[in-house]
């Protein structure tokens, strides 16, 4: 669906490359996440692929054709939700959607259904200027899928949303995947990457040092341990064991047989731990 090779880019008027030769590909039906701190180049990369930034080096092949060879019809097949909700403030929520929908061949016949899905039905006839950031972001999100595109770009889709609204959006993204859509999202939130993505690319300073599935990353790089807390007289003590060594570790069984156990927890490294370990950077 999307294949990027040796992509390089610098903004006009600057010499420094902000994208320094990255490679990745996204298969059809996959949710692919760019995980990285602010300023890493996530938005820039998406904008190059979308076509908002021209003059890139390397190759970007989208839906079977080099990006620079596509015309305006490219946009019939893709949906974009920017990180900043850009809406007509003086128009109502529904008018905003109708206006944009009218520009596509595939017109949405049931806009209210989408509005309802993100909980904006009571506000659909209100002007957007009175909306909160969260409401705007939700409207911004559904506007990108009005025309039922096959390839979707979401830039920080849950940023600025409260947990409940973030869940609504995450559920919708999972639904879209179930419908066979291909999704490229960016985030600096490891939970989002972990919950949604089939694959994540760690991006730092315009480079991608790691691409893998969150699950495999954890298997390869995260330590999986068991932590036992037990009473020892008046004090409580804690001991930690690697999962792989438990069955051969007599100490574990001794504790279990002889001590009063307070808690037992299994512990996994988070994606963030692995990010820090592999890139030497924090996520925020």
């Amino acid at each position: 669906m999307l294949k990027v090779s040796g992509l390089e880019f610098s903004y006009e008027g600057t010499k420094t490359k902000v994208i320094k030769g990255i490679d990745f590909h996204i298969k059809k039906g996959e949710i692919f996440g760019f995980l990285g701190p602010s300023g890493a180049g996530k938005t820039t990369t998406q904008r190059i692929i979308i076509g908002l930034l021209q003059g890139y080096g390397g190759s970007v092949e989208v839906m079977g054709k080099e990006r620079r060879d596509w015309g305006q019809s490219f946009f019939e097949g893709i949906g974009v939700a920017f990180d900043f909700p850009n809406l007509y403030l003086k128009l109502t929520a529904k008018e905003n959607l109708e206006l944009i929908s009218s520009y596509y061949k595939n017109k949405n016949e049931n806009i209210d259904l989408l509005i309802e899905r993100v909980g904006l039905l009571p506000d659909k006839d209100k002007k957007v200027e009175g909306f909160s950031k969260g409401m705007k972001m939700r409207l911004n999100f559904i506007r990108s899928i009005l025309h039922n595109p096959d390839l979707l770009f979401f830039d920080e889709p849950t940023s600025g949303l409260d947990p409940l609204n973030a869940k609504t959006i995450k559920d919708m993204i999972i639904d879209l995947k179930a419908q066979g859509k291909t999704i490229f999202l960016t985030t600096h939130n490891m939970t989002v990457a972990e919950q949604l993505c089939d694959k994540v690319a760690f991006i730092v300073d315009g480079n991608i040092p790691v691409i893998d599935s969150p699950k495999d990353l954890k298997v390869k790089h995260g330590s999986h341990t068991m932590k036992i807390e037990y009473y020892d007289g008046k004090k409580t003590k804690t001991e930690e064991f690697h999962m792989t060594e438990i069955k051969n570790n007599q100490r574990v069984f001794d504790i279990l047989k002889t001590k009063d156990i307070k808690t037992i927890h299994s512990q996994e490294a988070t994606l963030e731990d692995i990010f820090i370990k592999l890139t030497g950077r924090e996520l925020v």
Partner: protein
Amino acid sequence: MRILNALRADMKFQFKQGFYFVYVILTLFYMIVISQLPNEYAKYVVPIVIFTDPSFVGFFFIGGLVMLEKVQGVLQCLVVTPLQPLEYLLAKVISLAVLAEAAGFAITLVAYREGFNWPLLFIGILLTSIFFTLYGFIATNGCNSINQYLIKMLPYMLILTIPTIIYFITPSLWVLQLVPSVAGLNLVYGAFNGIALVEAVMYICYLVTLNVLFFIKVEKSFMKNMVKG
């Protein structure tokens, strides 16, 4: 048709932003003032008003429209739809030309009691409006806020206004006829006070050529100047 949808969207946007309201008030104001004038003055005042209406207002409106769309970020969202820059520009140009024609003819028909050359008036308003809309587009290049635009707009306006005023005072300075706003004014003026056919045709050809060139320029630099700032 995408272009029709774009046109409808533009008119809706202009209406909701209160542009039509301003225009109606302005037009009514002109009508009242002009209808108070004796006929011999009206011959001079009406063409000037009708010329300045699509030019100044068109210029201010297009700047306001584009800057509002830019500031609200919707331009960015429009360029990721199948709507083409050409269609976007045409919708703007047409919607403002319709407005200019409506106001120009309303003022003339209501406030002007003598005969006039209406095809010439129509063409004069059309070409002037298109020119100033495109010129206003160019003035918004590189502006990212309304304030920036207001500062940049001033010299753009003066470059055309000053020669037009000078020409009006000293018509013998024929070189000034090459200033597009002078050509437009002469057409509109001719619709009320008569103009040689050759002269009219020359102005028309000149403005049409200029408009086509401007249109191509604006369309070419659309992505670079309109979207990214």
